[in-house]
């Protein structure tokens, strides 16, 4: 049992290697990064962070690219704005935040950074507003101060309409307050009349005074707080498609007009309190919906990082000296652009010259750098790691891939699920019935109050709120779990699913290699070869090289050289050594790779050779994701039949399926074969959900009833998917798929409950109100209560399964629409 790192909580493998005096005691750390961060925090006198934090910190990432791109005056002009007195202000998105103490720490660090005049961190949105003196500091220095304590920051894209979002939220809150306060006060003026109820103890003048006071206080509720209902009703009337707003607006307006008339003439009843309370409860439901929607939208914040909007365009493709600096939006398809090592790619395109690797984790969540050679695709916003590349632009600006993912999620909101369309139709039909019944009842009884009671009591408001709110809450819950819902209707399908078809590579495995076997080919022992391999690969950033990370002896090597796309070369004890592809090593060994060697084809071979001949071959395997086993068990526990279908060798697939306990498997399948497999299941009447990631999964994702794609997958796969599992802390979680099923089932159960309740209420209230058995204030109470029950029930969709903290989920989503620590 090893100790946990004081900073990040990971196990300490080399005890005593990294130690420092922090927060009053000698502490152990798991790595040099954590030690450096903790020492920096202690040196700044910010150790209080360790006392108040509620979650361990994220392990620092040493692979940050230099942020100097942000210092360019042209770049600065795009994300920063003048703040007067020669100062500059900008908004930064803070990343790797785990708990509120992180935010405190970040704020302190930002305020202490030299040249920074003001720094305010918003704890709800994880954004920092920073004002600095451009003559004293640069953006890269401010970002470096954040990185020194183990976090990351990037300028916020000012084109994202945060101002609109804030105004919308403030406006809704203000309306809610006006309606709530108006309702409370109007109730106080109405109370004496209720108590007196014909007793004659209330002087007529006093009653008239209270009525006037109620009128004065209901006026702002009607004129201001009801704005959304009236404008909605006006829109509906113009299209002759009365929805939920029409009966509400008519009911409120008619109720107010009748009460005002009664106040002026002194005859009849007033219902200012009922009207104001109805408006307050309806606005509360709408505010909740707004909060849930805004929270779901923030999941995609990380894509709103501002991408350096300038590029080095080559006037002459052969001459790097001809590069000129142009704004990225001025790029057009066909332009050639030089992307230097450590810079972000300015547009989508293909490599024309040079080999390197790119960090696409911003886009895909996959931490493994992707090798790039001439012909490879480059996506805007990704990071070029090793060598300069010349790329040919294919798409720029709004057409780029990062923009495409954001559009995918927006599509979810645009496409109305069948369930919602159905609810809308029912609501429309109900509205006509309500309007007809109200007029008929009003005419028949000769009492306008009967008509108003029908309008208010039976407005299909609860019916209209039943489904969208539950689905929005479910989407919000999923977004907290790192799942983007691209088609809300898929929740319905997921709740009905019987079978799950899983892909292997990149879905159940992490697409990251680990060492399985060492075979020696020369005189050197396996341990000697491994020590040499570790030393050689330590300088490489290739995905395969990560398999050699970790503790263990390393040979002493000199003159380490990275040959992109082929391997690593170095000098060891005066001899030249190489590790990498068979051909690369054969050039040094002087003989072709031993062909008699039979390696399991499921493994990937990495060769090692020196001047005198072959030394060893390493068999690497793509390891399963850490939560794959648990996810498979949970899915089976939910009563789903699992199938593993992969393009890999059948024996390898069968072995992997057995390891995870999946009984049905098919190996060696083509993309068409996968689709046929799903089709066969569907013909048996099964509801099939596909979980996949790769380009070759695209047909099968399209074929399945519902599809879940790994955020690490290709764009094509994501475009076909209904759910995209984003990476959390650098690791895409297959376990989030389990959450999708649980949330979907829960949401659908709640929708059914809501429908049942709202329909039952409306059916019961309509005849009673039409017969004049329900007074307007009872109608308002019943109507608001039915809506509130639906809203509260929908909020349960946000609670974690088995958590049973519906109230907490409700209050937190209500008060704090943006909370999501990720």
């Amino acid at each position: 049992m090893s100790a946990a790192c004081f900073h990040c909580g990971l196990p300490v493998e080399a005890r005593g290697r990294w130690r420092a005096q922090v927060a009053g005691a000698e502490r152990d750390f798991c790595c040099a990064g954590c030690e450096a961060v903790a020492t920096a925090i202690a040196a700044g006198g910010l150790e209080r962070y360790y006392e108040t934090r509620t979650a361990p910190a994220a392990a620092p990432d040493a692979s940050f690219a230099p942020a100097t791109a942000y210092d360019d005056p042209q770049a600065l002009a795009q994300f920063a704005a003048p703040a007067g007195e020669g100062l500059v202000e900008a908004t930064l998105i803070l990343e790797r935040v785990r708990c509120a103490a992180c935010l405190w720490l970040l704020e302190q660090a930002l305020r202490r950074a030299p040249g920074v005049r003001r720094a305010d961190v918003n704890y709800a949105t994880h954004r920092a507003h920073v004002v600095w003196d451009p003559s004293a500091t640069r953006p890269s220095a401010i970002i470096a101060a954040v990185r020194r304590i183990g976090y990351d920051a990037a300028p916020w894209d000012p084109q994202r309409q945060t101002v609109v979002e804030r105004a919308e939220r403030r406006g809704a809150l203000w309306r809610l307050f006006v309606a709530g306060f108006g309702a409370m006060q109007a109730m106080m003026y109405a109370f004496p009349a209720y108590v007196d109820a014909g007793g004659g103890t209330l002087a007529p003048e006093a009653e008239s005074l209270m009525r006037w006071a109620g009128l004065v206080l209901t006026l702002p509720v009607l004129l201001f707080a009801c704005g959304p209902f009236f404008s909605g009703a006006w829109r509906e009337m113009r299209r002759l498609r009365p929805g939920m707003d029409t009966p509400i607006a008519i009911g409120i307006a008619a109720g107010f007009a009748a009460s005002a008339w009664a106040t002026v003439t002194g005859e009849g009843a007033v219902y200012f309190d009922s009207i104001a309370m109805l408006v307050f409860l309806l606005l509360a439901a709408r505010y909740l919906e707004l909060a849930v929607r805004q929270r779901a939208a923030r999941t995609l914040d990380r894509l709103a990082r501002w991408v350096p909007s300038f590029a080095l365009r080559l006037a002459d493709r052969a001459d790097p000296g001809s590069a000129e600096r142009v704004p990225a939006h001025a790029l057009v398809p066909g332009d050639r652009v030089l992307v230097r090592a450590g810079e972000r790619v300015p547009a989508d395109g293909r490599v024309e010259a040079g080999t390197s690797s790119a960090d696409e984790s911003l886009l895909t969540g996959e931490p493994v750098p992707v090798a790039k050679a001439p012909g490879s695709r480059l996506a805007a916003g990704t990071l070029n790691l090793e060598q300069p590349l010349v790329m040919r632009v294919e798409r720029a600006g709004a057409q780029t891939r990062a923009a495409a993912i954001a559009r995918l999620a927006e599509r979810a909101a645009a496409a109305k699920p069948r369930l919602l369309a159905q609810a809308d139709r029912i609501a429309h039909a109900m509205t006509w019935i309500v309007l007809a019944t109200a007029s008929a009842a009003g005419l028949a009884s000769g009492d306008p109050w009967t008509a108003i009671a029908v309008l208010v009591a039976t407005c299909p408001c609860a019916l209209g709120l039943a489904a969208p709110l539950a689905l929005a809450t479910a989407a919000g819950r999923l977004s907290e779990q790192g799942v983007v819902l691209t088609r809300a209707s898929a929740l319905e399908t997921l709740a009905r699913a019987t079978d799950v078809v899983l892909d292997k590579t990149g879905t159940l495995t992490r697409g990251r290699f680990s060492l399985r076997e060492v075979r020696t080919l020369g005189a050197a022992s396996a341990d000697e070869c491994l020590a040499l391999a570790r030393a050689l690969e330590a300088g490489a950033s290739h995905p395969l090289a990560r398999a050699f990370d970790g503790p263990g002896p390393r040979a002493a090597v000199a003159a380490l050289e990275n040959v992109p796309g082929r391997g690593m070369a170095a000098l060891c004890a005066g001899r030249r050594v190489r590790i990498g592809t068979a051909q690369f090593c054969a050039e040094l060994a002087g003989s072709p790779a031993p062909s008699e060697l039979v390696l399991d084809p499921a493994f990937t071979a990495v060769w090692l050779a020196d001047e005198r001949g072959w030394l060893a071959v390493f068999a690497l395997e793509d390891a399963p994701r850490p939560d794959a086993q648990a996810a498979v068990q949970a899915l089976r526990g939910a009563g789903l039949a699992l199938h593993l279908v992969s393009g890999d060798r059948p024996a390898a697939v069968a072995a992997f399926a057995a390891r995870l306990g999946i009984s049905a498997c098919a190996g060696g399948t083509t993309p068409q074969g996968k689709a046929a497999y799903v089709e066969r299941l569907q013909n048996e009447g099964r509801v099939v959900v596909m979980i996949g990631d790769g380009l070759n999964d695209e047909p099968v994702l399209a074929r399945a009833h519902a599809a879940i794609a790994m955020g690490s997958g290709t764009e094509a796969a994501q475009a076909r998917a209904d759910f995209v599992l984003l990476a959390e802390r650098g690791e895409a979680r297959i376990g989030a798929a389990v959450e999708c099923f649980a949330v979907a089932r829960r949401a659908m159960r709640i929708v059914r409950q809501n429908f049942a309740w709202a329909s039952a209420y409306n059916l019961a209230a309509l005849p009673l109100a039409a017969l004049g058995q329900i007074g307007p204030w009872e109608a308002a109470l019943g109507m608001a209560a039915s809506s509130l029950i639906v809203v509260l029930n929908a909020a349960r969709a946000a609670a974690a399964p088995n958590e049973g903290k519906a109230w907490k989920a409700f209050t937190s989503s209500f008060l704090c629409p943006s909370r999501s620590y990720s």
Binding site: R48, A100, W104, Y123, R166, R169, Q185, M188
Partner: protein, 46 residues
């Protein structure tokens, strides 16, 4: 009963006043970040 003629207009005025106070608080951004005040009390500084 005569006191009502003073008290009720007074209460109307009070409601309008509190509405104005709430509006000021809203416009000043007090409700934009509801997570922070809960943690700020733990801080000795500022």
């Amino acid at each position: 009963m005569e006191s009502l003629y003073l008290l009720i207009p007074l209460s109307v005025a009070l409601v309008l006043l509190s509405g104005w106070v709430f509006w000021r608080a809203l416009a000043s951004g007090q409700f934009d970040d509801l997570d922070r005040p809960g943690t700020d009390v733990l801080s000795d500084e500022d």
